[in-house]
Symmetry: C2
Amino acid sequence: MTEAEVSAKSEAAITLPIPRSFPELDTPLALIEHPTLLRNIGRVAQAARTRGLAVRPHAKAHKSVDLARLQLEHGATGITVAKLSEAEALAAGGIDDLFVCYPLVERTRVERLIALSRRARISTIVESEPQARLLAEAATAAGVELDVTIDVDTGLGRVGVALGPPLEALVHLVERLDGLRLRGLSTHEGFVYGIADPALRRARLTESLSAFVLAGQALSLETISAGATPTIFESMEVSGLTEVRPGNYVFYDAIQVALGAASLEDCAFSVLATVVSVRSGSSAIIDAGSKALSADAGVHGLALLSGYGIVLGRPDVSVIGLSEEHGWLSLDPQGDGVQVGDQLRIIPNHACATVANFDRAYLWEGESVIQEIPISARGAFS
Amino acid sequence: MTEAEVSAKSEAAITLPIPRSFPELDTPLALIEHPTLLRNIGRVAQAARTRGLAVRPHAKAHKSVDLARLQLEHGATGITVAKLSEAEALAAGGIDDLFVCYPLVERTRVERLIALSRRARISTIVESEPQARLLAEAATAAGVELDVTIDVDTGLGRVGVALGPPLEALVHLVERLDGLRLRGLSTHEGFVYGIADPALRRARLTESLSAFVLAGQALSLETISAGATPTIFESMEVSGLTEVRPGNYVFYDAIQVALGAASLEDCAFSVLATVVSVRSGSSAIIDAGSKALSADAGVHGLALLSGYGIVLGRPDVSVIGLSEEHGWLSLDPQGDGVQVGDQLRIIPNHACATVANFDRAYLWEGESVIQEIPISARGAFS
């Protein structure tokens, strides 16, 4: 085990001795702890308010109209989504300010965006000249003006233009094109997930975002927007940023705990599973497999995880493998063991990938379920 | 690259030069090639018929009422499912002979099973004494008799009793309990996924299933049922087996290709994705990430895979990473490259885990979509 894992497991033992049990509900199911959710949303909202920053949370993390609305009630200025169909699902639920942070490259999809822009306030990203021209032509033909940011690659190497001449050329193009209104720059500094050392992560973040901010200021752009959960509070310290777009922070998960970006007590999302078979003192099977928990073992190079989640209150129990519908537990022979029928609460590796498997999650507090939360944009990929 | 991968990639280049494109459909989407699907179902049906074996395919692979019905039309005697909620979803679609191959351990779930058994022919597994007693008590209280098999662990180490005294004790218990009717023995020889060498895999399979069959015959049991796709045809050669329960064989996938259990031409399921960003001659991004393709890199110890699927007809293109909504392509600099807007067809690592992410799949042939297939039991975990 890594130090972060040891620390996470010790903490589980100390602060959360009793797994919550909901015998009336069939497992596996997705749970969201209400006080923790509110605290997570509130902390980011408060920190941003103090610094005069806008918050535009990323709904890919929860895919839920209810949680997006909660974020807006806490002062978010709008919602970010990865896919157009997520925007459509949230707009259908009444969310009216949506930033589609994904390069739309096909006319059919751009036309869907324009149709949506007649029902809600919509913006999107531009990251190449052909894509800018496609958006501009479709918008002009439809007689609308689309708000856009230019997406910048600040180190993840996924989408976005490079700083310097490529960015400047694209800014000048977009400013000239009819149908587009340039709102500013956006980036996702997701490279921070690949840096295990917190001090190095912070240094790389600050260096990278500072260059990004300078570019935006040199071009006199109004919005300079970034966001990644592991470094959300550090990014707010970068002078000149105007907006943050964290996603996972509503839930946190085993990846964030491994990175030291959250404690187990910050984790609002868990999967409740039932022990269905005990083979020996050292192994057992639960009814949550890869289709429920997700087989995601960390994106963007994270190498801190082992296994498939943290079993709350049970440092003696590890989820060491997943079949489709079975989770494989390893039991410390010195621990208390498990019984068939026991319910265990598991913080998944990646909450965003996990909640997206479920049709609904249960918002709970103490021993009671408060509300069923539809995962409104589940399955919304296109 | 392993030899299997090199072979898979060469084969892709030879037999499937042109990726099918469906410009009218928004990606990423799930495709099922109709002729290949029919051939896969037909081959297993024909081989089983020749040997007088029953086929009870596992619907976890497709979670679809339509495909279950197709399997029944090809002579399947019933359908296997992993979860009770899958059985409920298929029964609601008119599938009337369902084997819930999962240990039900809670009274609420057993009562759901009994309720379902009034609407369809239902059977399930028993793998421990307390679980047998729970099923028997609930069935007796409800005035029904439940068909059961006793599940045997033949090497996977997941669920099931061991051969020998544990099995004999459980058989004698179940035969004495009111409310249960013992149909026979069942196993899932999933350990074959962990054996890379085909000759060794076959030898281990034969040894293991032969012992399993002997146990069933010694106990004079009617049904002796096993099934795992990589060795489905080999298992049919094991004398005395009465039923096979393969799942993945309807689709096959990159795992089966890596195991040598299928060729790329056997793969009926693919994900169509669009290139959304090209960064250089060596890398690009598609609009299918872990939420669509699944991050499953092989269960039960398979170590033959690298990356997240096989790009059909493009041996020069590899899917080397997945964010939630982005797939990372690596491009061979000697290849043809890709353009923004290109559609690529990808055989996922694990088709069962992938199809379960989608609300629907498209059955197609040649250049036409024939039918939309609802993934009826998507999200059915409980």
